[in-house]
Amino acid sequence: MGHVLAIDTSAGTSVAVLKNGEALAEVEIADTRSHTESIGNAIQDALSAAGVKPSQIKAVAVGRGPAPFTGLRVGIAAAIMFAEGSGAELFGVISLDAIAKQEFAAQGLANDTAAEQPLLVTSDARRSEHYWALYSGLDRHGVPICIEGPSVNRPADIEAGLTERGIIAERTSLVVSARAIGELFEAQAAAGSLSHDITALYLRNPDAVEPKNLRDFGKKVSG
């Protein structure tokens, strides 16, 4: 496999260029409110730092979240169009999976091994909620095995759910990075489990209340 461009905007703006699973360049912008402003320069800078031309990118891997809506779309939109413009193939990975892989690697967990305790990966979903998923270990290609989630709940409800079932889970404070997205992509490629699904994982419906009676408006008018 040639060069891979990895993009994730589920937290800040993160872009990496990888080859054979090794990151050649990484750009991280932690700010969670400037995805649109940052994404162009982040891609450009990562390519320049890696010394790679757009035409050399053979695959684009993008984090699908779950994540709060607005920023997440920036990375996915950019990934779609970079692939379109460069002729690269486009793949989606779940951002929480990438964090799990990173955490298991940090713990020194070997491939094809179950962790002593399941790993709970969470990320900020705003509005006092967390996105979460639970992982049991790594398969033989190093792809984390997700046993529950991803879902979105209040932290107390996530804990209660685990306690109820007697699950004692490991935690991680890691935040997703494009490098982790790229590494997961390489492992999935080896496992033959790559996915072209790049739809955004919002896990929440848009904030819009369907009026019960479309004429309600008229009755509420009071001047």
């Binding site: 400037s34 995805h35 649109t36 402003e37 994404i39 162009g40 320069n41 891609i43 450009q44 390519l47 757009p54 809506f69 607005t70 779309r73 920036v74 990375g75 996915i76 939109a77 950019a78 990934a79 779609i80 169009m81 970079f82 692939a83 379109e84 413009g85 460069s86 739809t199 955004a200 919002y202 848009p206 904030d207 819009a208 209340v209 369907e210 009026p211 479309l214 004429r215 309600d216 408006f217 008229g218 009755k219 008018v221 001047g223």
Partner: protein, 508 residues
């Protein structure tokens, strides 16, 4: 401010023109039949200078489509109106028309014994290329043949520009070559908003993300082009719904990097004005533009498309399209409200109910001469319906006449929009009005604009509806103008600006 305007001549001006013709050319005036034919011919463009209510001058150009030469047919200004710059203004109108019609050379004849006219033509760049002896009879005066060769654009070919639009609920990708439309594909999420009775920003943004690639692919297929044949990418970076704009901006930036093509961030509202280029080869300026949609109600004064756009006024509460949607709900009609109200209004009496015209009273006109307000109107309609229904329920009144309410409401909206737009034209001495935005689909608005503009001697431009609603072609067209004007591309750092002012045509 001058007290005259130049506007296109109509058949109704014939008598006034003939009176001037006889006064200015007593010996060799054209016949009335001849002049009538000239005014009506398809290959001619005639303009009149109007001072007060009187036609005091006129001029005409002939440009046969098959030829790249234009001819100044005639020009005359009443002696009492000379020295005001009317001759120059009439010539400017003819030369602008010649440029629009792609004339590469413009010819005219002038009496050898008329140095005043000759010096005007020299000042405009004409040169004296030949003399015809005894041309003007019976006096036997020679004619100078003069020619103007306007400078041609220096770039070898016209740039192919791809435009991306995502500021509201329409994902648009358009492709133009210079001023020529090659593709205009629109994917709308309108149906998804219907059950909410209005555009839901998050739903619109989600839909953009899904529609982007298919819309781009369709546009390329329609233009029969591949991405490497595109010279530049343009994107609307506002004003609009922030989350929706972000999708288009992020997409455009990545496409720019991946293809190595320059990117131009352009103003969505100015795009609505620039779209006229695709039908007429240019935007004739100065022009007033009335842009009316579900998100905007803006009155613009455009002296130069790229460098001088001024916001005269805008809505201080609801956009006109929003008012249609809300009143449709009050009347139990579907979303989007515009077409529903149009249908319901058919056969209704527009004068049945005198609904308020927002910000048109004297005290409001001082501060909000060109601003709009539809919130009070919407409330007035809701109240009226409430009262009428209550009366009907208690047997005091007839059943609610939806046709009358719809027609009267629509009349109030169209009236206030058109009155303020026409006022803006007259106040600023601008002889043309351009309409844009989805509400232009409203039949009564178009009709009333046509009526009032004709009465005020204002030329009305309404682009095809597919170019009036939000679309990528208008973004591409404006981007192409920037490219052709040699403007530098935008950096990759610009953001989505939901309140981008119209004075910022391009964000660098």
């Amino acid at each position: 401010m001058s007290d005259w305007i130049i506007r296109p001549a109509t058949e109704a001006d014939l008598a006034a023109i003939m009176a001037i013709e006889h006064e200015c050319f007593p010996e060799d005036a054209w016949s009335q039949d001849n002049m009538h034919f000239e005014l009506l011919a398809h290959h001619t463009e005639y303009f009149v200078a109007v001072r007060g209510e009187l036609v005091v001058g006129y001029a005409g150009l002939s440009k046969v489509p098959a030829s790249d030469q234009g001819d100044v047919q005639t020009i005359a200004v009443l002696p009492t109106a000379r020295g005001l710059g009317l001759g120059r203004a009439l010539m400017d109108a003819l030369l602008t028309a010649a440029k629009r019609l792609h004339a590469r050379e413009i010819f005219l004849e002038v009496r050898a014994d008329n140095p005043v006219a000759q010096s005007l033509y020299f000042a405009l760049g004409f040169e004296h290329i030949d003399t015809r002896k005894n041309y003007y009879q019976p006096a036997g005066v020679d004619a100078w043949i003069m020619r103007l060769t306007p400078p041609q654009r220096s770039i070898g070919r016209e740039p192919v520009v791809l435009g991306i639009e995502s500021t509201c609920d329409e994902t648009g990708v358009g492709i133009v070559r210079g001023t020529t439309l090659l593709a205009n594909i629109i994917s709308s999420s309108m149906d998804e908003h219907a059950r909410f009775g209005g555009v839901v920003p998050e739903i619109a943004a989600r839909a953009h993300l899904e529609a982007l690639k298919p819309t781009l692919d369709k546009a390329l297929a329609e233009a029969n082009l591949s991405l490497n044949e595109i010279d530049a990418i343009a994107v609307a970076n506002g004003p609009g719904l922030g989350g929706a704009v972000m999708v288009g901006v992020a997409a455009a930036k990545a496409l720019s990097i991946a293809t190595g093509k320059p990117i131009y961030a352009v103003n969505h509202l100015v795009g609505h004005v620039g779209v006229d280029i695709l039908e007429r080869g240019q935007v004739e300026t100065p022009t007033v533009a009335l842009l009316v949609s579900g998100g905007h109600t803006s009155l613009l004064l455009v002296r130069d498309l790229l460098d001088d756009v001024e916001l005269l006024g805008e809505t201080i509460d609801d956009a006109a399209g929003e008012a249609f949607d809300k009143v449709a709900r009050v009347l139990g009609l579907k979303y989007p409200g515009g077409p529903e109200i149009d249908r319901a209004a058919a056969g209704g009496n527009p004068n049945a109910i005198r609904f308020p015209r927002g910000l048109t009273q004297a005290k409001d006109m001082e501060k909000h001469r060109y601003d709009f307000s539809f919130s009070g109107l919407k409330t007035a309609v809701a109240r009226w319906v409430e009262v009428a229904e209550a009366k009907a329920d208690s047997g005091e009144g007839d059943a609610l006449n939806i046709a009358d309410v719809a027609a009267s409401f629509r009349e109030a909206v169209a009236d206030v929009l058109v009155s303020k737009a026409v006022k803006a034209c007259l106040d600023h001495n601008v002889p043309r009005l351009l309409l844009g935005g989805g509400v232009v689909a409203n039949a009564r608005l178009r009709e009333l604009a046509a009526e009032r503009c004709a009465a005020a001697g204002i030329e009305l431009r309404i682009p095809a509806l597919s170019l009036c609603t939000d679309n990528g072609a208008m973004i591409a067209a404006l981007g192409a103008q920037l490219v052709m004007a040699g403007r530098q591309p935008s950096s990759l750092s610009f953001g989505a600006d939901s309140t981008l002012p119209v004075t910022t045509v391009q964000t660098l």
